[in-house]
Amino acid sequence: MKYNAKVEISLKKGMLNPEASTIQRALALLDYQVKDTSTMETIKFTLEAEDPDAARNQVVEMCERLLCNPVIHDYQIQINQTGD
C-alpha cells in the first residue's frame, strides 16, 4: 500500500529557539504582541509499506537515523493512506 507520511520536527521543551524569538520580535515591530512563538519543520513524502504500522516504523527509523537530532528534537508522525 502507498501512504502519505508527514513528520513534524520541533525543538524539545525548554530548548532555546532563536528563529522563533526573532519572529516574535519582528511581529512586535508591527505592533502585534504575541507570546509563546515556536517554529517547527515539516517533511512530507509518500512511501510503500504493508500496513500503516509498518509505514510508521520505517518513518520512526528515518527520524532516528537522519531527520532529527535526538539531543534537541522531538518529532510527530502522521501516516495516511493515499487515494492512489
Binding site: 530548548m15 532555546l16 532563536p18 528563529e19 537530532n69 539531543v71 534537541i72
Partner: protein
C-alpha cells in the same frame, strides 16, 4: 605524517587546512566524501564549509556518507580526528563527540576574531599549548551554539577543549566551543585554527593545532 582532509560538496576550508598542515610539516592529501577506506592516513581533518548546503541541519547529511564509516575505523585505530566548524558539526551529528552545535542564540551568522581559553592540553591538537592558555582565532558560523545534556560528565571526563574567554558570542553552554571524546583523540572545534596559522593573517596561535597532530 599523512593527514587526510575530507571534502564534501560544499566544503570550503579544505585548501586553507591543506596549507596550514603543510606549514606545520605534515603531508596532507584530499579525500572525497565517498571514499570508505582511510587506513593509509595517520590522522584526519574535517574542514569547515557548508556541506550539502547545511540542508536539514548543519552536518546532518555529511554524517551519513561512506567516508564517515572510514573515520569510525580511524577512531578505532586510535588515530587523531579533528573537525573544524562544519567538521565539528558533523562529528557531533555522528555522535563521535558529545552534544550538538546548533543555531546561534541571536540567529545570525557571526564572523569575528575571538579570544579562547585552552581548557585541556591532553589532546593531540592542544598538547603544545599550556592549560588555560589564552589564544586568538576567528569564528565564522550560524550554528555554533554548543549544547549538551551531559555537562557534568564533560567536566568529570576532561572533555572540554576550548572555551570563549570573556564574551560568549553565540550563547554556548558555559561558553564551550570545543569538545573531545573520552580518549581525547576526536576533537570538534568551532573556531578556525587554519585561519590563524600565520601572523600575516592576524595570529599564528592556531598553527599549534596542526603541529600538535604532526608531532603526535
Amino acid at each position: 605524517m599523512k593527514v587526510g582532509i575530507i571534502r564534501f560538496p560544499g566544503s570550503n576550508c579544505d585548501r586553507d587546512v591543506f596549507y596550514a598542515l603543510e606549514l606545520a610539516g605534515g603531508q596532507p592529501d584530499y579525500v572525497w566524501w565517498n571514499q570508505r577506506d582511510l587506513s593509509n592516513f595517520d590522522a584526519i581533518v574535517i574542514p569547515g564549509g557548508f556541506s550539502y548546503g547545511d540542508y536539514l541541519r548543519a552536518g546532518a547529511i555529511a554524517a551519513i556518507t561512506p567516508v564517515i564509516e572510514g573515520i569510525k575505523d580511524v577512531v578505532k585505530d586510535e588515530k587523531p580526528v579533528l573537525g573544524i566548524c562544519n567538521g565539528a558539526q558533523i562529528l557531533a551529528e555522528v555522535g563521535l563527540v558529545p552534544g550538538v552545535f546548533t543555531l546561534n542564540q541571536k540567529a545570525q551568522f557571526i564572523c569575528e576574531w575571538v579570544e579562547l581559553e585552552v581548557k585541556t592540553n591532553r589532546t593531540p591538537f592542544t598538547h603544545l599549548y599550556q592549560k588555560n592558555e589564552v589564544i586568538k582565532m576567528p569564528i565564522a558560523h550560524a550554528e555554533g551554539r554548543y549544547y549538551t545534556e551531559y555537562i557534568d560528565e564533560l567536566h568529570d571526563q576532561d572533555q572540554i577543549v576550548l572555551g570563549f574567554k570573556g564574551d560568549n558570542p553565540n550563547g554556548s553552554m558555559e561558553s564551550i566551543t570545543g569538545v573531545c571524546d573520552l580518549e581525547g583523540l576526536v576533537c570538534a572545534v568551532m573556531p578556525h585554527p587554519e585561519r590563524a596559522s600565520e601572523s600575516i593573517l592576524g595570529s599564528d596561535d592556531g598553527l599549534k593545532f596542526f603541529k600538535g597532530i604532526i608531532n603526535y
